[in-house]
Symmetry: C2
């Protein structure tokens, strides 16, 4: 893997980066004072709290998501419960199938996720090989060192050991296909390559399935098992009928949900990337399966260029990206249909809007075993981080599976009924039965005979019609009687007729874009992080203004009492406008204060100096360029509002307001 760099080309130092995030309380491990004091005996890893800037960033991302999808696409938002009775997840298949493969360290008893174990060990061996060949690059070393998995398999020291070329190729192929193996295949790989727990080198048990849902009991009687949902989707499917009704029976439409989901990960690792409780935003777009799943707004996205990694490439053991337009991807059938393609485009524009680096996004297609058996096609939007390419958004065509299984279980018809524009003329062989004659003849078996006749397929009907015509009698197998009976012409007639169908009934298919907000959150932080020239200690988070946790920093030039009233007034005026701001009245130098707040990614800074107290003018500084303008409070506030609303860019403001070249503290 090529070395990962920050947006301005410096090597990415994850140690510095993560220390910034924790120091500024973007997030922290939950219950940390219990953990560090040795009060947590069990396995409560994989749980994180978001501090003030993290919390604001998360809620700004969610807010933009809601505007980009729910508002702009007129989706029907739902807020369904996390607690779900067992019956629902039995039907959906989660009770039986929502599991990962788990191995046990035979010495320490530690549990490890089988595919991750293989990945870690083979990657370490490949690195050892590189080192032995003298090919190790700076990035590999950083990668190996930075990857401080808390308790997962540790590969701290890369052992130099040359592998045969064929072995290298084999390992690379296994890694490219790692998501495609089932439990027994993973077991075979573990044996074949003698995979052990790198933390202690003990052998591991063969993989066993482990269900990832958290179980609990609802109500006081303990007779009602329930689960914490592992996704928000099922609540949306269960409400389908009401949503369709709310939407005045009009198709297609989409529902959407934002909320917490839970997965009892076997071995959480990689910080925020594999956690047990996480925020999801999911869309279920219901579409008519007929007519190629066209999308009315497809034209709006068709010219967008995306980087695709398709199924065939991965199965060939490669990870080469193909850059092409969504239009071409759908036309060539690489992406199954327009609706799927449309959402890939909308996902992409959303990611760019919140500040994701366009060069660090790819769309990877699922391999056959990786997809649910009912899915038609599935693509992940992956973001590149120092942990590798991370699946942040899944976009699957789930066919009619979910609605079908719930409908079958509950007998509730989860279907769309539409008047046909043109009535459908169906030519079919109909059987007319003379019940007054059939009854007395077959007595208690009459119903069974009738059922057998009705069950005849169109082609059987057609051939029997000929027989009946020719011989005057036919022979029909009646399963319930376990015998064949003869039925003569006077009992039935089989005739070809045209039936007119005015109503069409169908179960919609579902296209499901599903966003892991926590993973997007972390990847975005990596993408916007850089540091000022030649000073790795001066980290900056260059959030777009729309997602920045705090919009405006207010810094009085000194702690002089004269500045206090104006600082207070500006702070309150901004809050009154609903603009989040933070005053830094400490005695640190102005440059130091700006640097400190660059770490929080505050895009705009207001400086109050002695002139401000005299004439009311203030300066406005832009974080990335460190350029400043000076104007009246009123003018500066107008500029701030239009920057936040997106009506102006900094360049516009900078062009129209006089530049200020005084104390910036940035020189």
């Amino acid at each position: 893997m090529a070395e990962l760099t920050t947006r301005n080309g410096d090597p990415f130092d994850r140690t510095l980066f993560e220390s910034l995030l924790k120091r500024r309380l973007f997030y922290t491990e939950s219950f940390e004072i219990y953990r560090t004091s040795g009060n947590l005996t069990g396995d409560s890893r994989g749980l994180y709290d978001y501090g003030p800037p993290g919390c604001a960033l998360q809620s700004n991302i969610v807010d933009l998501w809601r505007k980009h999808f729910v508002l702009q696409e007129d989706m029907l938002e739902l807020d369904c419960t996390i607690l779900t009775p067992e019956e629902v997840f039995k039907t959906s298949g989660h009770v039986d199938k929502f599991e990962d493969w788990m191995c046990k360290d035979l010495k320490k008893g530690e549990f490890l996720r089988a595919d991750h174990l293989i990945e870690t060990v083979l990657e370490a061996r490949l690195k050892g090989d590189k080192v032995a060949r003298g090919n190790a690059v700076e990035g590999d070393k950083a990668d190996g060192e930075g990857k401080k998995k808390k308790k997962g398999p540790k590969v701290n020291n890369i052992k130099a050991m040359k592998l045969e070329d064929a072995v290298v190729a084999e390992y690379e192929e296994v890694l490219a296909k790692i998501d495609n193996y089932d439990g027994s295949e993973l077991g075979t790989l573990i044996k074949k390559y003698d995979i052990r727990n790198p933390d202690g080198d003990a052998p591991v048990s063969p993989p066993v399935p482990f269900n990832l849902m958290f179980k609990t009991t609802i109500g006081p009687s303990s007779a009602s098992p329930g689960y914490l949902r592992p996704e928000t989707a099922q609540g949306q499917f269960l409400n389908f009928k009401k949503l369709l009704d709310y939407n005045q029976n009009s198709m297609p439409f989409a529902s959407a949900s934002i909320g917490k989901s839970f997965r009892n990960e076997i071995s959480p690792r990689s910080g925020l990337l594999r956690v047990r409780e996480f925020l999801m935003a999911e869309i279920e777009h219901f579409v008519d399966p007929e007519g190629g799943k066209k999308h009315p707004k497809f034209d709006l996205v068709k010219d967008l260029q995306l980087s695709f990694l398709n199924r065939a490439t991965q199965l060939g053991g490669k990870t080469t990206l193909r850059k092409t337009t969504i239009g071409e991807a759908v036309a060539s059938k690489m992406v199954d249909n327009e609706t799927l393609g449309y959402f890939l485009g909308r996902i992409y524009t959303f990611l760019l809007k919140i500040g994701v680096d366009t060069n660090k996004v790819r769309f990877r297609q699922h391999m056959a075993n990786e997809m649910a058996h009912y899915a038609t096609d599935c693509w992940d939007a992956e973001l590149q981080t120092t942990y590798g390419w991370i699946e942040c958004v899944g976009c699957a065509d789930r066919s009619a599976y979910d609605l079908t299984v719930h409908s079958k279980k509950t007998k509730e018809p989860l279907v769309v009924r539409e008047s046909r524009r043109e009535p459908l003329r169906v030519e079919e062989w109909q059987i007319d039965i003379s019940k007054p004659k059939l009854g007395p003849l077959f007595k208690k078996n009459a119903k069974a005979v009738e059922a057998a006749l009705i069950a005849l397929s169109p082609s059987e009907r057609e051939s029997l019609a000929t027989t009946l015509e020719k011989k005057g009698v036919i022979t029909v197998t009646v399963p319930e009687m376990a015998e064949q009976v003869e039925i003569s012409k006077d009992l039935i007639s089989i005739v070809k007729r045209t039936r007119i169908e005015n109503i069409r009934e169908y179960i919609p298919n579902v296209i499901e874009p599903s966003f892991g907000i926590g993973r997007i959150f972390y990847s975005l932080l990596e993408h916007v992080y850089w540091h000022r020239a030649n000073d790795p200690a001066r980290g900056v988070l260059s959030f777009p203004i729309s997602v920045a946790p705090t919009k405006v920093l207010i810094v009085p030039l000194s702690t002089h009492q004269d500045f206090v009233p104006l600082t207070k007034k500006i702070t309150e005026d901004l809050r009154e406008l609903g603009i989040s701001c933070r005053a830094d009245e400490s005695s640190a130098s102005i440059g130091k204060r700006y640097a400190r707040n660059d770490e929080l990614g505050i895009p705009l800074g207001i400086t109050i100096d002695f002139d401000s107290v005299k004439d009311g003018t203030i300066t406005l500084r832009e974080r990335d360029s460190t350029k400043q303008v000076r104007a009246s409070q009123e003018e500066v506030f107008v500029a701030i509002e239009s920057l936040i609303n997106g009506k102006e860019k900094w360049e516009d403001v900078f062009a129209r307001l006089p530049e200020f070249l005084g104390q910036s503290g940035d020189e």
Copy 2:
């Protein structure tokens, strides 16, 4: 209880009201298709999904909450996990104490919450008495009928039965104090009044405690029990040290959290009012316990008039409200301190801002047994609904309890350390020990003797100093040795000295306003509901524009093709501005379409007619007055934006734009 009316004085019809909410999908029971099809065998009641308008209303309430509290008060928002290891809730007391008292129906095995059972039965008897006395009023009947508890105790038919006056007084006193009884007292009441399950009349078991937390297991080993949090508070306490640091060590400050909490209610009832999964918004305001817990912004709320129901009144068996200012309430010590008073004021202004009826808010003080033992004072903001007065916000002074217990458990000092402005001079008796002499004398007991000396209290030190001075020897009890030892003058000296303390260390107290968003949501819906004159079927939800789920309705006069492009353009233009809107292009009459959307509480309506297509002017209608103005699209959009931003009121817009008197459909 007096009959409850809608905002314009009509009797409140809950059946019509709730049918509106369900029909328009504000909320729905979760997994309904499983329940109605008989697929849910267990007890999964008390779980609700919010549909599109409910979801938008909820998120607008949360948004205003965030602006009113987090932004305006500069609070530090946190997002902590729901999953919490058992150790944390052991320390907080929830594992041992977070329980309700539960009785079992001895025939049907059904579980009932003891206090609710008593309440229901006594209230029914009091109603029966009223009916017998011929005092029953319309409201009582409606109350009894409307109270369709899903599966809880049923009191559908009021049995007329006169009670003695003394019994009536006794019942009323019990009901006023119902929150003040513990389990054994509830048991006594059940025996004394022969309380049975009204649903079947079977006797019930004595009350037993039932813990309300949902339990689960974290990680694959099943050795780590965990709970779903029943409140968001603990996560905030555990992060106290980091928050203080983030706040640059400055006090007071507050943290805030918005998120789901879970309580395994014994017998959920009353729709959204007693549920098992709910959204909370909680503030923990950390304050110095010294100096009377003043609040710097108290002046801003001190003149607000609130309706108070204090502890003494309730213990006297009454529910009379006392209307007075917050300033007076704090001055008279009815409300314990300024900070508590400040938050009661902020809670009140928040409730009014979202549209709560000022005549249906009261602040009820907790009685002694109702409060946690460590709490200094606690007030609930209660909202009046057809279910009675509902606790929607709690506001408690929790003293230093939480930080103290977590600090003790983890040994992490959850304290504030402040430089004293003036160093504190402490006069104290210090003991100087000559260790070189003490050691050889007491050998292995030397440490124990030393500890016993250090443990002496100030008054003991003082009196022993005199003894030592007089007799040259003192006698000290050494607990570890279980004996007394003599210590002579050459081993120690006890002298009065002045110590200078530059640093003050203290554990902050916590004032905790805690909002049940679901209860506020439901009560608000009752408060804004009314119907057009003489037409109970024409329900209106008069949300303030800021919380209305959808802001603008767009109605073309007819389904004529000419209207389609303009309807589409206006819809898209509004969405581009981030304004939620809904076009109703159905063929129903314009009056019918407005009526339909009054039910969704859409405050503004745009009508597109033939003139619109010609000259681009459109009309803007206000929901409550049904008045309309007519202007260009641009002017109307400016008006809409300023109405939403709160820069103008409808009266302002109506005064400056020309009124339109054409088809309103409202006549």
